[in-house]
Amino acid sequence: MPKQTFILNGEKVTVTVEDDVRLLWVLRDILGVTGPKYGCGINVCKACTSHINGKAFNPCSVRVGDLQSDDEVTTIEGLADTAPGPGLHPMQKAWIDRDVAQCGYCQPGQIMEAVALVRRLQKEGRPLRESDFDSIRNICRCGTYTRIREAIEQGARAMGRS
């Protein structure tokens, strides 16, 4: 069986598993990293949203064999370490401050998507607009969308300061 090597939350990991197993299951079932959630398995619900080399992506739709050994995968568990200073990432803090989560199942994916959205805006050098929320496809079946919007606005401001 092939060995798969990549960087997970800042540390190099090597896993022995077939090439075509999707990364979500390598993370969850083999490595025990359960922050990314299963909600559809076909890149629709976005509950597994994590980062690859700083961009949002969905590990349910990536064969582990397609990763390069220097690819940096960040899950919600590693997000705080990507922000300067100790403690949580500013987006996580905003999420707590707005008391966003209800059942909490989708929230790791929502936060990872929000961070990537703000990074895109920073790169484009423009502020968050109402229409940017339309680009977020993450489902929240508890319907926490209103507080998600408030938290992203707050998190975006905080990310701009850091």
């Binding site: 076909i42 990536v62 209800q102 059942c103 339309d134 496809r137 079946r141 319907g143 969308y145």
Partner: protein
């Protein structure tokens, strides 16, 4: 954090603040190494079942009048709070946290009576406790209503015992001591003892029955103040554990290959040896619901399910489609009986509602380890006792050999009232002889999971000389499955039901007990009839109310129009209860009812009364073509957009306004989806939907940019239900706005049901392949 506005109104409820003398309750000090106190879970349960579901009355209300000191009183139906030596309080809650926030609100109630910071109250979910009978059902927005008093009694008793122990240690009397934030202090000497210091000395060697008074509402410091969720940190760091996140030794990923038709069953697997040779696969077993496969990863289960060649039996809905089900419903409609006369004007509204899926984002999942002599189950379950019974029966085990752990769920919405997932996992574990971690594929949920039944609702109102003299509603529905326990509760309390229910079945009784048309309309009848089901149904976040409310409120707008009266003015004039008038006035004012809007944009308003409280919702709905036809890419349903939603709620006593606001916002998103976007399509016994790109639950592009929640305080001192309160009102307000904006009432809800906005996914195999282009779509 925005804090919802709180408005006050007076109310002359008999047990209101400053009203009757404080009632004293009985609680128990349990024998233990540290202080453990308890209260009967049925404490405070009202004698008359005013609304279903209320908990069964295991015993009568234990206030002082009913005092019966009985040393042998069974303590099995108790809920208990333990004070630990580290100064924390622990409460094992016989309810399910599914996202509604009851762990936080219950910790707040304990903190209030105990004088302990909320953070030092640990609330965990109790495993199945069969001795509680059906008082371990989380549903019908009933949790806080049914547990508020017993939880307070236990916490107040713990504080009383800590005071008594401190008095002995400090050489004084308890009435000279005060409690502050987990410490007992003597203000005269400055001496103090922490609850942790007292946990052991306050403990009792024997069971004692003790009387205790509750803190007066006017002294509340925690209840009624906004509090963030206790699991917020875990939720945002990925540390919160759901069923499939648990590590149970050797419980490997397991999935099921299911029939193309709804509730179809397997005949046989034709390529068993091929499947067993696939990478990662360890076991294959045929079970009544399909062919189960266990593998090293869920990804390998998905591959195996897709590779299976299975012969299937047709499902019970073979040959049926939306059209045939609707025809059967029409044929079953009960007649409207008020005759039309030349002098009366008749308003008719006749609408249908499609099947909808109550599935949460976390698909049905359960871990099961069934051995010849015992079984252990981990799952999100709102009625764990029935799960335990069903699994014991299936496995041929005594009930006490089945341990059922209740795990916090990734949503429920009624779905986890049933134990389908736990029973299936146990069946598979028994068949394979190994522990399994079962997870349903998303495609399994709308196709094989519980559905909110298709229904029709007809309303006829008669107007005579400018007055509404009759209002008849006939709700006709595919039968709703109540086998999760509500039915049994009704049976067990049949004698206590209000009169007039004799002769009705469970569903009819539940219908009558949940529907309260809050208007004075002369002769009012609301009746239910059901068609026999070939479908796996269940109640979905608010049982019948959303559909009933949509039809009723649409009719009310039509009556107002016929009488040429403004819809808000008309409602206000006919509402029975001043609490409902107050919430309506609140949204009308805050939402600027009647303000001028462009053509194609309209306001809609609705009220609803249920679960000891009431809500009103006002929306502005944009139905202009530029909005309706917004193109945001494939399989993205836009359509009419609510641009503003104003919600007012009077839930009775508010425990946690921040949590209540969240429930109103979430309930609104559900109501919005019910009216505009989310449904399941039945074609030849198969449901077409298979994922969130087919089943259009509210998404960010449907969310109103402006959502306001107003909490109206009516001075009521008992808490009502919050989890479902806003759903029906929101669905109805959006429907009314749609009718006003477009000038027509849709025949079917959701309004987009007539259009299939997606290409149905594969039925054989029953689940779609996992994509491989995830790196290309990184963003």
């Amino acid at each position: 954090m925005t804090t919802p506005t709180v408005e006050t109104t007076t109310s002359d409820h008999e047990d209101g603040p400053g009203g009757v003398e404080r009632r004293r309750f009985l609680g128990y000090v349990l024998a233990g190494t540290t202080l453990a106190v308890a209260a009967d879970l049925s404490l405070g349960t009202p004698k008359a079942m005013a609304a279903i579901p209320s908990a069964p009355q295991i015993s009568d209300v234990y206030d002082l009048e009913d005092l019966q000191t009985d040393a042998a009183l069974p303590t099995s139906a108790l809920i208990s709070i333990t004070i630990r030596e580290n100064g924390t309080a622990h409460f094992e809650f016989p309810r399910a946290e599914v996202g509604q926030g009851i762990i936080t609100s219950t910790a707040m109630i304990i903190a209030e009576e105990l004088d302990l910071p909320v953070r030092r109250v640990e609330v965990t979910l109790a495993p199945a406790r069969p001795e509680l009978l059906l008082n371990q059902l989380t549903g019908g927005s009933n949790t806080t209503f049914s547990t508020y008093t017993p939880v307070r009694v236990a916490a107040a008793l713990a504080r009383q015992q800590l005071l008594a122990a401190a008095a002995i240690e400090l050489g004084t009397t308890a009435d000279r001591l005060v409690t502050i934030a987990g410490v007992v202090r003597d203000p005269l000497t400055g001496q103090s003892r922490s609850y942790g210091d007292l946990a052991v000395s306050a403990a009792s060697q024997v069971l004692k029955t003790v009387e205790v008074a509750l803190r007066p509402e006017k002294d509340f410091k925690v209840i009624g103040k906004p509090h963030s969720r206790l699991d917020a940190h875990d939720a945002v760091t990925g540390a919160k554990r759901f069923t499939t996140d648990l590590k149970v030794p050797n419980a490997l990923p397991t999935m099921v290959c299911r029939a193309p038709q709804h509730q179809g069953t397997p005949k046989r697997l034709l390529n068993r040896s091929q499947i067993l040779r696939m990478p990662g696969v360890t076991h294959v077993a045929q079970v009544p619901t399909g062919i189960a496969v266990r593998a090293r990863t869920f990804g390998q289960c998905i591959d195996a399910v897709r590779a299976m060649r299975v012969e299937w039996n047709a499902g019970p809905a073979d040959g049926q489609s939306d059209a045939t089900v609707l025809k059967a419903l029409r044929a079953a409609e009960l007649p409207l009986v008020v005759p039309s006369t030349p002098l009366t004007q008749t308003i008719d509204v006749d609408v249908a509602f499609a099947f909808r899926s109550s599935a949460a984002l976390e698909t049905y999942s359960a871990i099961a380890d069934v051995r010849p002599d015992r079984a252990e189950i981990w799952a999100g379950l709102k009625v764990p006792i029935l799960a335990q019974q069903n699994i014991a029966q299936m496995a041929g085990l005594p009930q006490d050999k089945v341990k059922v752990h209740v795990i916090t769920s990734g949503g429920s919405f009624g779905h986890k009232l049933f134990s389908d997932h736990a029973l299936e996992a146990a069946t598979i574990s028994k068949a394979m002889g190994v522990p399994v971690k079962l997870m349903w594929h998303r495609a399994d949920e709308p196709r094989q999971g519980r559905l909110h039944p298709m229904a029709t609702s007809r309303v006829r109102a008669s107007i005579l000389a400018g007055q509404v003299v009759s209002f008849e509603q006939r709700h006709t529905s595919v039968v709703t499955d109540f086998s999760h326990g509500l039915g049994e509760i009704l049976t067990s309390t049949a004698d206590e039901l209000p009169t007039g229910l004799g002769g009705y079945g469970f569903s009819q009784s539940i219908f009558l007990l949940t529907q309260q048309l809050p208007y004075n309309f002369g002769v009012v009848t609301q009746l239910l009839n059901e068609t026999d089901g070939a479908f796996k149904t269940g109640s979905m976040r608010n049982i019948y109310s959303p559909d009933v409310a949509v039809a009723a409120e649409l009719a009310i707008d039509q009556i107002a129009k016929a009488l040429k009266v403004d819809p808000v003015e008309f409602r206000t004039a006919h509402l029975k209860d001043p609490r409902v008038v107050k919430v309506l006035e609140t949204v009308a004012k805050a939402g600027r009812w009647g303000r001028r809007l462009p053509k194609g944009v309209a306001q809609g308003v609705a009220v609803h009364k249920e679960y000891k409280g009431c809500t009103a919702v006002l929306v502005e709905l944009d139905c202009r073509p530029t909005t309706v036809n917004r193109d945001l890419g494939p399989e993205t349903v836009t359509g009419p957009r609510v641009t503003k939603a104003v919600i007012a709620v009077d839930p009775g006593l508010v425990i946690n306004p921040r949590g209540l606001e969240a429930q109103m916002q979430g309930g609104f998103m559900d109501g919005l989806a019910l009216t505009l976007t989310s449904s399941c399509h039945l074609r030849d016994g198969k449901f077409l939907e298979a994922s969130w790109d087919n089943y259009f639950y509210t998404r960010q592009w449907n969310v109103p940019p402006q959502v306001e929640v107003h909490i109206v305080d009516s001075g009521v001192t008992t808490p009502g239900g919050a989890g479902e309160a806003a759903v029906g009102t929101s669905a109805a307000a959006v429907a009314c706005a749609y009718a006003r904006a477009t000038g027509r009432i849709p025949e079917m809800f959701p309004i987009n049901h007539g259009t299939i906005s997606f290409k149905p996914k594969t039925f054989v195999p029953p689940i779609p392949p996992a994509p491989t282009n995830g790196l290309k779509t990184a963003r």
